[in-house]
Amino acid sequence: MKPLQSVNDFVIKFANVNGTGSASANNLFAKALFRMGLPVSPKNIFPSNIQGLPTWYEVRVSEKGYLGRRGGVDIILSVNPQSMAQDIREIEPGGYFIYDNTKPLDLRLVRTDITIIGLPLTRICNEKYKDPRQRQLFKNVIYVGALAALLDMDFKVLTDLVADQFKGKEKLILPNITALELGHQYAKDNFECPLGIRVQAANQVGDKILLDGNTALGLGAIYGGATVAAWYPITPSTSVVDAFEKYARRVRIDPGTGRRNYAIVQAEDELAAIGMVIGASWNGARAFTATSGPGLSLMSEFLGLAYFAEIPTVLFDVQRAGPSTGMPTRTQQSDVLAAAYASHGDTKHVLLFPSTPKECFDLGALSFDLAERLQTPIIMLTDLDLGMNDNMSDPLVWDDSREYDRGKVLSAADLDNLERFGRYQDSDGDAICYRTYPGTHPGKGAYFTRGSSRDEQAVYTEKGEEYERNMLRLLQKWDTIKEYVPRPETTLCGKPTDMAVLYFGTSEESSREAVDYLSQEGIDLDAMRVRAFPFNQEVEDFIDQHERVFVIEQNRDAQLRTLLMAEFELGPDKLKSVLCFDGTPISARNIRKQILEHLPGNNVTPLHRKIRAGGVGEKA
């Protein structure tokens, strides 16, 4: 078997043990490639524990700029004997297995169709370092150094990066560079470098940045003017509030008093967290919470209150694999229905679907405008893949001329000029009413907020007509909302076609890549990325304009398709599902395969979503 040959186009996976400090070394590797001008998409695959279990770091390098999971692995860098058997099996024929050969490889694991490269990492460390912690830490840096030689990376980029990373802790720079050199030298000395797979500097990243979605989202909340954050820790959402706090400490300290222009409360649970957000928003602050699936479920009752009492509420749901505790450190897009229909009674909620860190930032900030303008919960559905991995992204931009849309709020002066204030009176015909903050005016504008039925004056009522009128207004507001939520992004293939793909969130990169593949095979597909629910008119039109639309989702139950079916009256055979829900991000190969299976002439699966084992999992 000929070893794989490629330049700037491969997938490498690091197999480590968690809690051993491998993350920063692996990160160094990815970032260095990025600085060489190469599009990279690193993904952390970590266990739901703290220390001692297998963890992986997969980096795709693609000069063409494909950032989704490709599927398959070309190179494994293995320092974890626990997962070695599984890891080695995963390598594509012709691929490379680089491992710590201080302990010899179990012969039963040997594959002849791959190249096996031993680096005596432990031995090198033991010789060089006395301190056990140093031995562990530098082992990771040494293999990065070796990889630099094996893949022909620009060594200077690496050393510069180290210098940047340890700014402020300069003492650490030299030892790290020494470790890099140790590995580099060992590889140079012992192998013919570079391998068949290698890199070379390119210019493919432009002004892009490498950032995780949660940090971007935390920043979005800062820029969106949030002053109150209430939350309860849960993977993978915790870093949203961490980021908010980090930046708030930088930019939200009152220079005069040293006091904080923000308040973060770690609540006792998610019910309390959303309650705090509702209380703060009711009182005129911009507030948010961040959570994941189980928290979303716990927030259901309060979401119904916010919907019905029309209180701006911003909730960031960083989705993970459900149901229940599910796989807390794996990704999925499976809270769509639970979020859209959260709470008993007739409720529907606005959903936003970001797909890049930049969009986490943009939609994060926008959420506050939308919540205050529309006076209803805004639920952003991001996910672990986007939130916790460094994603290549357009740089963050803020239009300094933009102004917050604080929605319909009456000031004391407004109230003075008003004959009669009715909190739930639709004065403008857009079904959105005016509100007042507590404390605004000594004599006017006070009203009673409640989750029970009330009339236009916010007075309790049990009259069916009044209740009904209010509910119909809320339904009318749903139409107004469609005009405010972000529009979808359409990419026409430019050729006549009656087929299309439709996707949202983190399926974007893989979907675009799959469309490219298929177009090379003569299958032309238009594409739409949906960015919000309720769906705008464009979404319906797009579906109408195509005979068949493949709806790509990372869940089992085709949840977005369910919403599309429920909202629009579509003919049979119109929407086909392309699904991946094993907890890994959907890959381009998987999408391509499923679309091909759906095509006439291929092994067409029946119309209904009767998914059977083997139908969707990616075995590629």
């Binding site: 600085r35 800062i222 820029y223 003017g225 002053t227 109150v228 209430a230 930019v251 009152d254 006091r259 904080r260 222009n261 923000y262 308040a263 409360v265 609540a267 006792e268 649970d269 019910l271 309390a272 967290a273 309650g275 509702i278 209380g279 703060a280 928003s281 009711w282 009182n283 005129g284 602050a285 911009r286 507030a287 009752e301 309060f302 209150l305 740089p395 963050l396 931009v397 803020w398 239009d399 300094d400 102004e403 917050y404 007042t436 903050y437 507590p438 404390g439 005016h441 000594p442 004599g443 006070a446 009203y447 009673f448 907020t449 989750g451 029970s452 007075v459 309790y460 009522t461 049990e462």
Partner: protein, 350 residues
């Protein structure tokens, strides 16, 4: 269903420092049962706010769900109100207080609302020492759902349904003490002379102030076998020393009586006078307060009055070091760092 009390009033009703009669502090007509203890507490709140000359619009009143939680509709009609969901008022107040530290937050709850479904939020709002007044209208039962025993029902007490409650009662004052409350009092809806000054004191306390008010449910739990009936409470209440409250604006001399054992100057400058008999309780010592509660419970009596006060209370805003200006009044220019900072951030991410 609810409507404002008719505005016609006798012209020479007493007005307070703001020129308001008591009417300015009233709400819609109550829809509770005639004789319900909750209505008396509403009345005490109205009186306290009137006498303290509070600006009604600077008060926010919040509640959960229950007969008790309905009462905010029946007082302070000029204040914003929020009747939230069952048992979760504390979190809503917490958020509200974070947003605007300048209002007075008055939370009203029931024993079901607080001690059952709301126990978690109650414990934690106490622990955070949120600057609020928390009044529990405690009738030992679920009034609005027709009289089931609540978690504050005493062991052996029987409501209209007739079965003696087999579980021991949760003592909300002791629970609050346990969770670090800085102001703890107990009273009785039938004793306005005690209740009104306690409400006033609670309102000028900085931090979390609990008043657990026993408030008989005439419809479901005012039976002979109930320990939350008017009769039982009247017979078994033992008041700690009387509390006099002298608002900040008033002359210290006004209502002064001789023999005050303690004078406490509250955060806002008001003065609290305590006339207590030293052996029962030292209300400035948490341990003594806890003991007094346990002792009275053991004897089957109900200790009422000011039970504990921490004079050095630091509220949640102190702890979080939030800006002195309310967060909801910060301007976009103060909140949004602008594009320039993003340029730096972007640079650091390449």
């Amino acid at each position: 269903m609810s409507y404002q009390i008719p505005k016609f009033r006798h012209p020479d009703l007493p007005v307070n420092d703001l020129g308001y009669t008591k009417a300015a502090y009233e709400g819609s007509i109550s829809t509770l049962c005639a004789g319900c203890g909750h209505d008396s507490i509403s009345g005490a709140i109205v009186r306290a706010c009137h006498e303290l000359s509070l600006e009604p619009h600077k008060i926010a009143k919040l509640s959960g769900i229950g007969c008790s939680s309905k009462t905010p509709t029946y007082f302070l009609g000029k204040s914003h109100g929020f009747n939230s969901v069952h048992g979760r008022m504390p979190s809503v107040v917490t958020g509200a207080a974070m947003a605007n530290r300048d209002l007075l937050y008055l939370g009203v709850s029931g024993d079901g609302d607080t001690a059952s479904i709301g126990m978690g939020q109650f414990a934690h709002v106490v622990r955070r020492n949120l600057n609020m007044v928390y009044i529990v209208m405690n009738n030992g039962c679920y009034g609005l759902t027709k009289g089931q025993d609540s978690a504050t029902a005493d062991e052996g007490s029987a409501s209209k349904k007739g079965d003696a409650n087999p579980f021991s009662a949760i003592d909300l004052c002791a629970t609050a003490l346990q969770m670090g409350a800085t102001f703890v009092a107990r009273s009785f809806s039938g004793d306005k002379e005690q209740l009104v000054p306690l409400i006033k004191a609670a309102m000028s306390h900085r931090g979390f102030a609990l008043i657990d008010v026993i408030s008989p449910c005439v419809t479901f739990n005012n039976t002979a076998a109930s320990t939350k009936s008017y009769e039982f409470v009247r017979d078994h209440a033992e008041a700690t020393g009387t509390v006099d409250f002298v608002p900040m604006r008033q002359e210290i001399t006004t209502s002064s009586r001789p023999g005050a054992a303690h004078e406490v100057t509250m955060h806002d400058g008001s003065v609290l006078r305590l006339y207590e008999d030293a052996d029962t309780l030292n209300p400035f010592d948490r341990r003594s307060a806890m003991m007094a509660l346990m002792d009275h419970q053991h004897e089957g009596t109900i200790l009422t009055g000011l039970i504990y006060l921490d004079k050095n209370s630091r509220d949640l805003h102190d702890v979080l070091q939030t800006s002195h200006r309310p967060l909801n009044q910060l301007e976009e220019s103060e909140l949004c760092p602008g594009n320039k900072m993003l340029l730096n951030i972007n640079a650091s991410l390449r």
